[in-house]
């Protein structure tokens, strides 16, 4: 194929000239195929396994954007989670009315399934017992400035896992929040 016959072409047959050998045009492609498939494997693995996922977050619109005043949520339907800086969640349930005899229970848990998840499911059951509907639970997530991004993601995840449909990331501006922040000795702002 790639050879040219430079001599005066084999016109004279009987002549004792060195006749060019007829070479086969076939090349062994096995090695090339091997290489091709090796690279395919590499690119396939490199593409599909590294696709990151995303988590959608909706923040409540800022107050001055609100056109319609929404009725406030009953505090007995809520659960407040404050995210601290040491992978701890501080939770409390605020009563509807605060008076002199009000006792506030506050506790800290971790992000494990026996910690935060238990708190959320317990609270879901409480709300169901009181209001008849599990979905009425409203979770207020209030990350403190020194908490990690991982913590926020974990809590949002926990909401999905437990099927909590109503939750929001809020700023810790409530008076009780400042009390809690003071108690655990972490800055609120």
């Amino acid at each position: 194929m790639a050879e040219m016959n430079t001599s005066e072409s084999g016109a004279k047959k009987g002549h004792k000239k060195a006749r060019s050998k007829k070479m086969s045009t076939r090349v062994d492609l096995t090695a090339m195929v091997d290489l091709g498939f090796l690279l395919i494997t590499f690119f396939m693995l490199a593409t599909t396994f590294n696709k990151p996922k995303t988590m959608e977050v909706n923040k409540p619109a800022k107050d001055d954007d609100k056109k319609v005043e929404e009725p406030p949520i009953k505090m007995s339907k809520t659960l407040t989670l404050m995210l601290g800086n040491n992978d701890k969640v501080y939770w409390y349930v605020s009563p509807d009315e605060i008076d002199a005899n009000t006792q506030l229970t506050m506790d800290s848990v971790d992000y494990s399934s026996t910690g935060l998840r238990k708190v959320v499911t317990t609270r879901q059951n409480e709300v169901q017992a009181q209001w008849g509907k599990k979905d009425d639970l409203f979770v207020m997530i209030k990350p403190l400035p020194t908490s990690k991004l991982k913590n926020t993601v974990d809590v949002l995840d926990e909401m999905t896992i437990n099927g909590v449909t109503r939750y929001a990331i809020l700023e810790p501006t409530d008076p009780i929040d400042s009390l809690v922040a003071l108690r655990i000795g972490q800055p609120r702002k």
Binding site: R26, D28, L29, T30, M32, V33, G36, F37, L39, I40, F43, M44, A46, T47, N50, K51, P52, K53, T54, M55, E56, V57, N58, K59, P60, A61, K62, D65, L83, S112, S113, P143, L144, P145, T146, S147, K148, L149, K150, N151, T152, V153, D154, L156, D157, T160, I161
Partner: protein, 201 residues
């Protein structure tokens, strides 16, 4: 009875077709692969059970390093150019064509917008090793640079979606600053990039 003679067949197979297929697939995979964009800072993304895959195009990406530095990136080159035009008229940057071209190929960056011309003037090698100081976060009510970036990019490309890629250990306050900027521009919906994990039992 005469013996049946089994004809000897060659063991060599014609590999041409197989080779063709292999290289066709190879080409396909090479062209579709998106290489990991160069990272300005190592970012270890958090895990979540979220299953929504990240969209392929029209992304405005904010990266937050563990120390709170903020980086910005657009995936679309024409939009990058339009954004740069808007920025240069807003901040009175005089940019040459060479600098604009350098910006077009810039995956992500993080610095005061006024430093951009000097950065784009560097030669490519120097630019690759430049330590980005992070976007300028407005705290005193002066220039709202991040807000401008968000506004201009969204005006140039309406379909832009906002993705935030933050490190696991980024403090919430740096994350919050970015969200404040987004909310100032009436963006209340965004995506946090996470890697998949299974829900723990």
């Amino acid at each position: 009875m005469p013996k049946v003679k089994v004809p000897r067949k060659s063991t060599a197979i014609d590999m041409t077709a197989m080779c063709d297929v292999a290289f066709l697939l190879l080409t396909f995979f090479i062209l579709t692969t998106k290489f990991r964009p160069s990272e300005l800072a190592p970012i270890d993304i958090p895990n979540s059970t979220a299953q929504i895959p990240i969209p392929d195009k029209d992304i405005m990406m904010f990266q937050i390093a563990p120390d709170g530095k903020l980086f910005f990136g657009l995936d679309d080159q024409p939009t990058r150019l339009k954004l740069l035009d808007r920025l240069s008229s807003q901040y009175q940057l005089a940019l040459s064509d060479k600098q604009k071209d350098a910006f077009r190929t810039l995956e992500s960056w993080g610095m005061d917008i006024r430093q951009l011309p000097a950065f784009l003037e560097m030669d490519p090698n120097e630019r690759a090793h430049f330590q980005h100081p992070g976007l300028k976060i407005d705290t005193t009510g002066g220039e709202a640079q991040i807000e401008d970036l968000i506004l201009f990019s969204r005006q140039e490309n309406n379909n832009l979606r906002i993705a935030i890629k933050g490190d696991k250990s980024t403090q919430y306050k740096s994350f919050d600053k970015l969200i404040q900027a987004l909310q100032n521009r009436k963006v209340n919906k965004f995506n946090i990039i996470t890697s998949a994990r299974l829900a723990k039992e």
